[in-house]
């Protein structure tokens, strides 16, 4: 009986404790810098798109919310012709970010995407591209990859040796 009264008293005292609630729309919860929310397409240091249209993100997506079409620029760079994410399906799992070989897809600390019209949740490439390098500053896929594009032949990438003519090595 006494312990019941004591617990009632202790619960009563909670009236004067600090509230745990964030009054959300007015008072925002602090999000960590690497919080995984809305998906964005980052750019390389030169301002070009990082995405090379490899479809790995679309393959990794468990809810099939990513759709894209690869295209090739005259200089040999691949880029997505269109890149569309249906955020009414996206579950913010971050698998696309993990799958992306060029650090193009990154998840931002932003989750406030409520819309009155469902169609507005379908983001096109223009909506997804951000003017930032995201979590990997200084990374440029074509500078480190061995793929030849106009203005950069094979072997000219960073930390890459010129290709060896295997036939000239014959004994």
């Amino acid at each position: 009986m006494f312990s019941l009264l004591r617990s009632m008293w202790l619960v009563f005292l909670h009236m004067f404790h600090k509230r745990e609630t964030y009054q959300y729309p007015e008072e925002k919860a602090p999000l960590p810098a690497r919080w995984r929310g809305r998906i964005a397409l980052t750019r390389d240091p030169d301002g070009g798109e990082r995405c090379v249209g490899c479809y790995l993100c679309a393959a990794a997506c468990p809810v099939d919310c990513i759709s894209l079409q690869a295209a090739e620029a005259p200089d040999g760079r691949r880029y997505p012709g269109f890149f569309r994410i249906n955020f009414s399906r996206c579950i913010f799992c971050g698998f696309c970010e993990e799958a992306c070989p060029t650090y193009a897809i990154q998840l931002l600390p932003d989750f406030e995407m409520a819309e009155y019209d469902r169609q507005n949740l379908v983001y096109e490439k223009e909506d997804l591209l951000i003017n930032s390098q995201g979590k990997y500053p200084g990374y440029n896929y074509y500078r480190v990859a061995g793929m030849a594009i106009s203005g950069k032949e094979k072997g000219e990438a960073q930390r890459e040796e010129p290709p060896v003519n295997v036939r000239s090595l014959l004994p």
């Binding site: 019941l4 617990s7 009632m8 202790l10 619960v11 009563f12 909670h14 009236m15 404790h17 600090k18 509230r19 745990e20 609630t21 009054q23």
Partner: protein, 317 residues
């Protein structure tokens, strides 16, 4: 009847139904405060318009009657609880002269009406034709029947001291001393029985949402569920006002406030205690509840009755 009575009846109904609705907000707010939250605070000042929003929502819910239910009884049951509790309020003296029916058998009428509330639970659970509802109804019936026994017995202490069943006269008899002091044991027993009677936590065993879905009102939706809800809050108000009337001097209090205000203040204190109980107590097991009732409270209330009677006889001699 004189116009005077119509005003009292109308006023009592108006205040009670609004109190019951307001308690929805008050309870959510207080529970939140005791759990370090804010509770509903958006709609209107302090979020009090949540009551309006909740009621509107209930009205727009699908009013579904299960095809396997006993339709007449199913519709009838929720009305019983509200009607019987409102009837019981007829004898509660809210202030000097402010009482709907100044009956000489006030306490007996209150006991009878609060017992009628069991019908609502039993009929609602039975008519739902659902095993959880039936289990809840069975629990509710046995809980309320057994706790009514010593609820009545605990009340007899005040009846012995005041020598009347009339609630107004009982309040008048407390002018010298509130009955909480000579009848502390009776008060504790009545309070515990009152919690069980309104089947509130920690004695919400007929509902027991973690075991029985929602107990006797599992199948109810829309405003029929709302009636059970209102009935529960009216029950809290009834038990609180009965505690105040019988043990805390009813409308009596220092003269700078009118009697009705004192009554309302005291009643609200006990409503708060009811909510605090819900915030802090775990639910006992069903057999523990029965054991506690019959093996502890029942003998204690008999002892209380005997002791009070003996002391009264000795003093009167």
């Amino acid at each position: 009847m004189e116009a005077h009575y119509w005003w009292i009846i109308g006023g009592v109904l108006f205040v009670l139904l609004n109190t019951a609705a307001g308690l929805i907000w008050l309870e959510r707010r207080m529970l939140a405060l005791w759990q370090d939250r804010y509770g509903p605070n958006r709609a209107g000042p302090f979020g009090i318009l949540i009551v309006l929003a909740d009621t509107l929502k209930l009205f727009f819910k699908e009013d579904w009657i299960p095809p396997f239910a006993d339709k007449v009884v199913f519709v009838f049951a929720p009305a019983v609880v509200v009607a019987s509790v409102l009837m019981a309020f007829a004898v509660v003296p809210f202030g000097p002269g402010i009482v709907v029916a100044d009956m000489n058998i006030g306490i007996l009428f209150f006991l009878a009406m609060s017992s009628l509330g069991v019908y609502s639970i039993v009929l609602g659970g039975w008519a739902s034709n659902n095993k959880y509802a039936l289990l809840g109804a069975m629990r509710g019936a046995s809980q309320m029947i057994s706790y009514e026994v010593f609820m009545g017995l605990a009340l007899m202490g005040t009846v012995i001291l005041s020598g009347t069943f009339n609630l107004g006269e009982i309040v008048e008899a407390q002018k010298g001393m509130w009955y909480i002091f000579p009848q502390l044991l009776g008060f504790v027993i009545f309070f515990i029985a009152g919690i069980a009677e309104t089947h509130r936590l920690p004695f919400d065993i007929p509902e027991a949402e973690s075991e029985l879905v929602a107990g006797f009102h599992s199948e109810y939706s829309g405003m029929k569920f709302g009636m059970f809800f209102i009935g529960e809050y009216l029950g809290i108000t009834l038990i609180s006002s009965m505690i105040v009337t019988l043990y805390f001097g009813g409308w009596l209090g220092p003269a700078f406030l009118p009697g009705v205000i004192w009554f309302v203040i005291k009643t609200f204190v006990f409503i708060m205690v009811f909510i605090l109980l819900r915030a802090s107590m775990p639910r006992p097991r069903y057999d523990q509840l029965m054991e506690y009732g019959w093996k502890v409270l029942f003998p204690l209330s008999l002892l209380n009755l005997l002791g009070t009677a003996a002391i009264k006889l000795i003093i009167d001699k």
